[in-house]
């Protein structure tokens, strides 16, 4: 019996120890002395963006006395935040792209209105004045019925049609403005025995850029989101959606895409482009950084915006990356204080010049590689976001991406694509309503 008692005691002790560690973790996160904040970052240690943030954190602590407990989580940071949202142990501050934050934080009501952050000022300028109004007008970072956005962007990603200005100076001086001029340019390139367009066709997101951009440039931002909300799927048969599909089909039929684009693995084709084996690449603002290590010598990054299709309105993609504060954050005030602190000119300049991304402040410095994109953003009539802001569960991954893949890879004609989307969407809503 003594043995049994000993063993049961052992079991009990281990169980207690286990629960104690749980409690300890809880108590740790619960410190509410006003002097700390926990920040889970989407950047990884060693990245240029991380270095800028680390410097800002050091300055912030020196200035305010608030210690920042930062964890460099990497791109999956938001996925890791989700399970914590059901506990009382959430990070006070997180950052990621709008496309990742919106579905898990905003739609489920887990993001705080950043009232204090937007009302505060940095270096004498009010935060709300530093974010260009045009961005706020078009993007969904304020929830319905709320006054203040739930997200404070500090940088944004956009896209452009990239080329090497050293080999194609003519594209820099006279870029094609509208769709017909663009097709004519592709023909010219083809006639000169060049491959007009590179694309990594295995990355659905990249294929989807073409269709989304075409549709938005015909109907305007929000067009695709509206179509996706139609439970019958019939909205896909509308003239604009068809026209956008036909525009993409023109690219396939014209044979403008690099050979093998539908049977390669990223980054094969963008490498080919950076090696001057193709003239143009439609991709995001990260391309100069991402391809720098394998680009041909003397490669000069330049770009022009996606051409207009119907009318002369120029729309630019503006996907924010920024801070959000969960509703349950215990140090929400400190979190917002740091978020606005990071919009200081010094850090915005560093993001532009060191990390070579686009800072959200219009007065911040940018690197020469993305100067053409910044110009396009300044001249844009309106803005749209990735997938045109569709966050419906599984819609993009299970319906939109696979179908656009087939359109871009030439396996579906424009008409078949429309039919597939219409019936697929009807099925989708049958299952999800």
């Amino acid at each position: 019996m003594a043995k049994i008692r000993k063993l049961s005691a052992l079991a009990l002790i281990s169980a207690l120890a286990l629960s104690a560690t749980g409690c300890a973790a809880g108590a740790d996160g619960g410190q509410d002395s006003g002097g700390t904040l926990t920040y889970w970052s989407m950047w990884k240690e060693g990245e240029a963006q991380q270095k800028v943030l680390a410097a800002a954190i050091a300055d912030f602590t020196a200035e305010t006395g608030i210690t920042v407990d930062v964890q460099w989580q990497g791109r999956d940071s938001v996925k890791k935040v989700v399970p914590t949202l059901n506990t009382n142990n959430v990070p006070d501050l997180i950052d990621s792209s709008f496309a990742k934050l919106a579905p898990v934080l905003a739609t489920s009501g887990q993001a705080r209105e950043l009232t204090e952050a937007y009302a505060s000022d940095v270096e004498g300028e009010k935060i709300s004045d530093l974010i260009p109004d045009a961005y706020l007008a078009d993007t969904d970072i304020t929830r319905e019925g709320e006054e203040v956005p739930w997200m404070l962007p500090y940088t944004l990603t956009s896209d452009a049609i990239w080329f090497n200005a050293a080999t194609h100076p003519e594209l820099e001086s006279a870029p094609p403005k509208d769709w017909n001029a663009f097709l004519a340019e592709l023909d010219t390139l083809k006639a000169a025995n060049e491959v007009p367009l590179a694309i990594d066709g295995d990355v659905s997101g990249y294929n989807a850029y073409w269709y989304t951009a075409a549709l938005v440039h015909i109907t305007g931002p929000g067009a695709m989101k509206k179509i996706a909300d139609d439970h019958s799927g019939k909205a896909w048969e509308g003239a604009d959606a068809v026209k956008a599909a036909e525009a993409v089909q023109q690219l396939v039929d014209g044979g403008y895409f690099i050979s093998g684009y539908n049977a390669s693995k990223w980054p094969a084709q963008q490498q080919a482009w950076a090696d001057n084996q193709a003239a143009l690449l439609y991709n995001g603002t990260w391309i100069p950084t991402e391809t720098a290590s394998y680009a041909a010598s003397d490669f000069q990054y330049s770009s022009f915006p996606f051409p207009t299709i119907d009318g002369d309105k120029q729309f630019s993609r503006a996907d924010f990356i920024g801070f959000a504060v969960p509703v349950k954050a215990k140090n929400a005030e400190n979190a917002q204080r740091f978020a606005s602190f990071f919009l200081g000119k010094k850090y915005q300049d560093a993001l532009g010049t060191d990390a070579k991304i686009l800072p959200v402040r219009s007065d911040a410095a940018t690197s020469p590689e993305v100067a053409s994109v910044k110009k396009a953003l300044e001249e844009a009539d309106a803005f749209y976001v990735q997938n045109d802001g569709i966050t419906l569960p599984g819609y993009a991954e299970k319906l939109l991406y696979p179908t656009i893949d087939q359109l871009v890879q030439g396996k579906l004609s424009a008409a078949d694509f429309i039919a597939a989307m219409a019936s697929g969407q009807a099925d989708y809503w049958k299952q999800n309503s």
Binding site: I4, S14, G260, P393, E397
Partner: protein, 320 residues
């Protein structure tokens, strides 16, 4: 060795239990007393870390839930939706293809190799070489596939030298899943060869001598000696493969998913990939209820298959 050690132990246990019903003895009473302290902690940890989360997953699967905030009870709605979802059915059939087609290929090749390697010179080295692919992270194969099979990759370059002007589009969406199956067979074969060989090595040499004396040919030796004496090893391997094949994820993710750049094409999805994308795609509202339902169905599939397999493979253990 473990087998021979365990089998008599079990029979003693059975005998003792039967005996205790009659009169009970000191050893049995002591054994009974030790049951709780020995099994208790393991059971506790197992329940807390595995059973409870599984039960919770079943509970979640009856709800619509984006991962945080309120849960909306939908009953078996998620399961009904899953069976109406063409993509899920396709993922499910892909899982079955992996389980059966790759499984049969792996066992056929492993068994063949075992027979060849049994009395080959330098078989230890050969065994290590065959086992090697299993040690390598699936990530490497994903990256390697790009190098080897891209339009300008190694294979097409070689084919070009051989005069093939129009090589197949190896990495086209429709070719990816067959490629994954081939790759998986290659990766897994070494693992099962090693286990099967351990079983074959266990067979005492005098049985083979006996065969030689009796004039048995290679097939008869296989039929009357090797198969019966390695049957339990086969059974275990079949169960191991069933369990691991239903969970196959990373090779599909990396082979089609461009090494972390987005999601693999839907045609290559298995139920594990379907579950993951439904819960964690990162680009749309997570559907944890649906993902849990899909995971529970996979668990049910494994359970049913394992029980069936155990039934089919059941033989009396042969002691030797």
């Amino acid at each position: 060795m473990t087998q021979t050690a365990v089998i008599p132990d079990v029979s003693v246990g059975r005998g003792a239990r039967r005996a205790s019903r009659g009169r009970g003895n000191a050893i049995d009473t002591a054994r009974k007393k030790l049951f709780v302290p020995f099994v208790g902690p393991a059971l506790l940890f197992y329940s807390v870390l595995f059973v409870a989360p599984s039960v919770y997953a079943i509970w979640i699967s009856f709800h619509k839930w984006p991962g945080s905030g309120p849960m909306e009870f939908v009953g078996i709605g998620n399961y009904v939706e899953l069976f109406g979802d063409k993509l899920f059915l396709q993922s499910f059939s892909n899982t079955l293809l992996l389980l059966f087609v790759v499984g049969i290929a792996v066992f056929a090749v492993s068994f063949g190799l075992t027979l060849v390697l049994r009395d080959m010179a330098g078989r230890k080295i050969a065994r290590s070489v065959i086992f090697f692919p299993h040690l390598v992270n699936a990530m490497i194969f994903g990256v390697l596939a790009g190098f080897v099979l891209n339009p300008g990759g190694l294979v097409n370059t070689l084919l070009g030298w051989a005069g093939v002007a129009d090589p197949p589009a190896w990495l086209a969406t429709e070719n990816l899943f067959p490629l994954i199956m081939v790759m998986l067979t290659w990766i897994t074969t070494g693992y099962y060869t090693t286990i099967l060989m351990a079983g074959v090595d266990r067979i005492p040499p005098y049985y083979y001598e006996d065969c030689a004396l009796a004039g048995a040919n290679a097939f008869q030796r296989l039929r009357y000696v090797i198969l019966p004496l390695t049957w339990d090893v086969f059974g275990t391997c079949a169960v191991l493969w069933t369990i691991s094949s239903v969970k196959i994820f990373e090779i599909i993710w990396i082979f089609g998913g461009s090494t972390g750049q987005g999601i693999p094409p839907t045609r290559t999805w298995s139920t594990a990939v379907y579950t993951y994308v439904t819960a964690f795609s990162g680009e749309s509202i997570p559907a944890y209820g649906m993902a849990s339902a899909s995971a529970i169905l996979s668990l049910a599939l494994v359970s049913v298959l394992v029980v069936l397999l155990r039934r089919v493979m059941k033989r009396d253990a042969i002691e030797f």
